[in-house]
């Protein structure tokens, strides 16, 4: 069958025969299927717990296997490809010979390189297979309900890590139909991170001055903001949060002591569409907070035990580690009037059998006994109320990633760039004599070094330097064309110049994008602060790649001229 197909291409489509396009596509598709199956097979609930971001799961051992497979396939393919070199023996008649060949190389290369996608799709498929949206939402309610009563980690005894004065936020933030925050939508920065207002992360825009609000004796600043990229020089830029306006929040802030009752933080917040029918803020205000307050007010042990038991069932289902005995732990909370922090910080609790985590004890006591205790494993010295919440968060976070089919855009860019480079290198090596190719590589190095020296000697600003480099790249591209069309130069020199022209294309594309980016620069005047610079046109790698691709395709006809050039 394969022979018949090859025979068909040999007799009808010589370019396909030469490039082994369909064979390579077949291998590419097969690798996609294998990658998908592999991603599906190796994913389980443990995978979701162990990986912070499941969309990066591919970048483990599978990526290495993938690279090795690709190298083997491409070495074998290149061996065959260079053996059937039509250009070596005659002048193919095909009108767009190099363009067609280029496409027939780049498309399978793109397939072959981008196994990240089928692998990750397989992973996502398995995630969606083992986790169901409805179940997760209902379990989420239970998890969030129990969360205020449990200890997140051995380092989470500091109340500021988990709580802020309740009941906050008292209003549900929402977006309008235009996907903009409604008038009620505000952000806040608690006082303890107030320092970042004065660093380089946040820029002030509004004329009014910031207003500090006291909530539960803590200072807060409420404001509206948007993100913006600010460029320092040609290489460095940073994303800033630009404050549009400061807000005086109109809400009641009730002063409570730090306690379980005041938890306003919840375990899992969902910002993704698939789970958005569960609105964490609303649910907290309407359901969790009243429930927590009711249990605390009535000291309802049965309700507390039920909540914790339901929570533990979910933990057991997903094999999440915990050190919780619902009955004992409920007794402890009731005995301590739900004031976990103070209780666990108290070394007397240690002696009462409510074993705090070693880390927390370290804060208050560095005695040899505590040190010894810390060195013991968690299994032999269990921490009451401790749950691996991070595992739960990862399950939900990874599920949301899978459900929303989130892929790494950088991988896409990388795949395109690499496929482009592979196709370029193969086509140039295929079309230009080997000696010229070998000479062109160090020649390129010398040119780059000279450009570097020029940059140092000129000592000019970044913008001017980019222009100079762009013009140099254009000169090399033009020289390649001039050498090919002129009869004054030998074929070998012409080959080297054409290759340098090809190498200059990605540089020219990069510099052109930088120049366009620079042109889009504008300045924003700040009444209360310094001016800052913003850009209307972002510097996108995809634009550089596309521009480079177009440049390469436009330059490709030179290879035919070069082939036909007399020595």
């Amino acid at each position: 069958m394969l022979k018949k197909i090859q025979q068909y291409f040999l007799e009808n489509k010589p370019l396909y025969y030469q490039s082994k396009f369909f064979e390579m596509m077949g291998i590419g598709i097969l690798l996609w299927v294998i990658s998908y199956c592999f991603g599906w097979l190796i994913t389980d609930i443990k995978t979701l717990q162990d990986n912070y971001n499941i969309s990066n799961y591919y970048f483990g051992s599978f990526a290495i296997v993938h690279v090795i497979i690709c190298i083997i396939i491409y070495v074998l393919w290149a061996f065959k490809f260079f053996q059937t070199n039509a250009l070596k023996h005659f002048y193919p008649l095909s009108k767009f010979y190099h363009h067609k060949l280029f496409l027939q190389i780049i498309v399978p290369a793109l397939f072959m390189i981008s196994l990240y996608y089928p692998f990750t799709t397989g992973v996502y498929g398995k995630v969606k297979f083992i986790l169901k949206n409805d179940e997760l939402v209902s379990e989420l309610k239970i998890l969030n309900k129990a969360y205020p009563f449990l200890v997140e980690s051995s380092a989470a005894y500091d109340v500021t890590n988990k709580t802020y004065p309740a009941p906050f936020p008292i209003a549900s933030f929402s977006k309008n139909n235009n996907n903009e925050w409604s008038n009620n939508g505000v952000y806040f920065k608690p006082n303890h991170i107030n320092g970042i207002f004065d660093t380089s992360n946040i820029l002030y825009n509004p004329n009014e001055c910031k207003q500090i609000v006291l909530v539960d004796n803590q200072e807060y600043i409420f404001y509206k903001s948007h993100d913006e990229t600010v460029k320092f020089d040609s290489c460095n830029s940073r994303n800033y949060e630009v404050i549009d306006s400061f807000i005086q929040p109109a809400h009641q802030l009730i002063k409570y002591n730090s306690s379980v009752a005041h938890f306003s933080q919840i375990l899992i917040q969902n910002n993704f569409d698939k789970l958005s029918n569960y609105d964490a803020e609303t649910y907290y205000i309407n359901d969790i907070a009243p429930n927590v307050h009711q249990i605390i007010n009535t000291k309802n042990k049965k309700a507390l035990v039920n909540i914790i038991d339901s929570f533990l069932n979910i933990c057991n289902k997903y094999e999440i580690k915990h050190r919780v005995s619902s009955d004992k732990y409920a007794d402890y909370l009731l005995a301590k009037d739900f004031k976990i922090v103070s209780a666990l910080s108290n070394s007397s609790e240690w002696n009462n059998g409510y074993s705090p985590a070693p880390a927390d004890v370290t804060v208050v006591d560095e005695s040899p006994m505590v040190t010894e205790s810390r060195e013991k494993s968690v299994e032999t010295n269990p921490t009451l109320g401790f749950v691996e919440f991070e595992s739960i968060r990862r399950i939900y976070s990874n599920y949301q990633t899978a459900e929303n089919n989130i892929y790494q855009f950088d991988v896409f860019l990388f795949c395109i760039a690499l496929a482009l480079i592979i196709a370029m290198v193969i086509l140039l090596a295929f079309s230009v004599e080997g000696v010229a190719t070998l000479i062109s590589i160090p020649a390129t190095g010398v040119v780059i070094l000279l450009c570097g020296l020029l940059a140092i000697l000129l000592h000019s600003n970044d913008s001017a330097m980019v222009w100079v480099l762009f013009i140099i790249a254009l000169i090399f591209i033009a020289l390649g064309y001039y050498y090919v069309t002129s009869s004054e130069f030998s074929k070998r020199y012409t080959s080297i110049m054409v290759l340098l022209g090809f190498y200059a294309i990605p540089f020219a594309a990069t510099f052109l994008c930088i120049i366009i980016h620079e042109f889009s620069k504008y300045s924003i005047h700040q009444p209360c602060d310094n001016n800052y610079t913003a850009y209307a046109h972002k510097l996108e790698p995809l634009h550089i790649i596309m521009l480079g691709l177009v440049g390469f395709l436009l330059y490709l006809p030179l290879l035919k001229k070069l082939k036909a050039k007399a020595e």
């Binding site: 040999l10 009808n12 010589p14 030469q18 059937t84 095909s94 036909a564």
Partner: protein, 385 residues
């Protein structure tokens, strides 16, 4: 049309005279003239029958004549050979160190012409071929191509000018696969691809080697393969550098005769320029000869028009006697020059009866002749000039 019928009749005569090998090659040429696929199919079947059934001479002759008669029904439009293919105007190639200059060359190659390019080693034969093929740049003069080629780009011109170097580059894979690959690149696709390739393999005696690869072929068959590949490209001008170098004596004659025959094709005539050291073989098939000495060309047909050349006879001679015996024998003749290169004598004299008086004298004086050739009209005489 008349030409094709004449050609068929001529080929039939080969079978009548029992020249089966020659006849069969010419029969294939006649089939090529039709450019007709059913004819190609029949021709291939005929060849397979010939190879497998081992027919008697009579059976083969009858069947081939029948096939040739069947070709008469096809109309073969003769293609004009009057217009030039390539014309060079004072082209000159000066090598960078100034050690060698080729030119000035003024030649006009027409469709159907066979040009022989002769000269000692290092006198610019390969250089001239490469210049004509646009493979090598020249410093002075110009090359004109006919109207069909003139408006094309260099690349497109080179698709129609084929240059086969003396040492052909290595190729990979099977012989037939490579021929098919070339044919497909030149628009011969589908079923036609198989038929054209089969015909070409039969034509150049490659049929039995169709599955061989490069390393399994002798140098001679590699050259045949290159010729087959080249003819699949249907070139307008074929430039061959020492094509006979690796061929045995018999093959040299066959290849040269075949090349001449194919150049004179009715439907697909082409110009051929070939360089070779096999002077006499090349002269037999060439319409015109260029002799190159130190890069300077001499056109033999022009040279022979000169009165002093016309009058003088030049004889190449190999005898068992010594030089004294030869000179004594020829004292009665007006000899202008006798030269000896260690093996052969070149005797020059003026006489209207050519070789006859010289032979009479040699026989009269009992000179034992091993070899004699009249090279008066051959480029061989120029080698001594």
């Amino acid at each position: 049309m008349q030409n094709f019928i004449e050609k068929i009749e001529e080929v039939k005569q080969h079978f009548v005279l029992k020249d089966f090998h020659l006849g069969f090659r010419r029969l294939i040429d006649c089939a090529f003239e039709t450019q007709n696929m059913p004819v190609f199919e029949q021709c291939i079947q005929l060849n397979e029958w010939k190879e497998t059934a081992q027919p008697t001479a009579h059976e083969l002759g009858v069947k081939c004549i029948q096939f040739l008669d069947s070709l008469k029904q096809y109309k073969v439009e003769p293609k004009s050979t009057s217009s030039f293919l390539v014309k060079t105007n004072d082209i000159e190639k000066i090598f960078s160190r100034g050690s060698f200059t080729l030119g000035r060359i003024n030649i006009e190659i027409n469709n159907g012409d066979v040009w022989g390019l002769v000269g000692e080693n290092g006198n610019g034969k390969t250089t001239l071929l490469r210049i004509l093929a646009k493979d090598l740049a020249h410093e002075k003069g110009s090359i004109e191509y006919n109207n069909q080629l003139n408006n094309l780009s260099n690349y497109d011109i080179r698709t129609q000018l084929t240059y086969i170097p003396q040492r052909t580059p290595k190729w990979f894979g099977g012989l037939k696969t490579n021929l098919k690959f070339t044919a497909t690149h030149y628009g011969i696709v589908g079923k036609q691809n198989e038929l054209w390739v089969m015909m070409m393999m039969i034509r150049f005696g490659l049929y039995q080697f169709r599955n061989h690869n490069w390393s399994e072929l002798s140098s001679g068959y590699k050259m045949r393969f290159e010729l087959a590949r080249t003819f699949l490209r249907k070139p307008k001008l074929l430039l061959l550098d020492e094509p006979l170098a690796n061929l045995d004596v018999l093959s040299q004659q066959i290849v040269l005769e075949d090349l001449k025959y194919m150049a004179k094709s009715i439907s697909q005539p082409l110009g051929i320029v070939l360089s070779s050291q096999q002077l006499f073989e090349v002269e037999k098939v060439s319409d015109k000869i260029i002799f190159l000495k130190n890069g300077k060309p001499t056109l033999l047909h022009e040279q022979l028009q000169k009165e002093e050349i016309k009058k003088s006879n030049v004889i190449e001679l190999e005898i068992e006697n010594n030089r004294d015996d030869l000179e004594k024998a020829l004292t009665s003749m007006l000899i202008s020059n006798i030269s000896f290169n260690g093996g052969q004598y070149i005797v020059e004299y003026e006489h209207t009866e050519g070789l006859k008086p010289l032979m009479q004298l040699l026989l009269t004086h009992n000179i034992r002749i091993k070899y004699v050739r009249d090279i008066s009209a051959s480029s061989r005489r120029l080698f001594n000039a």
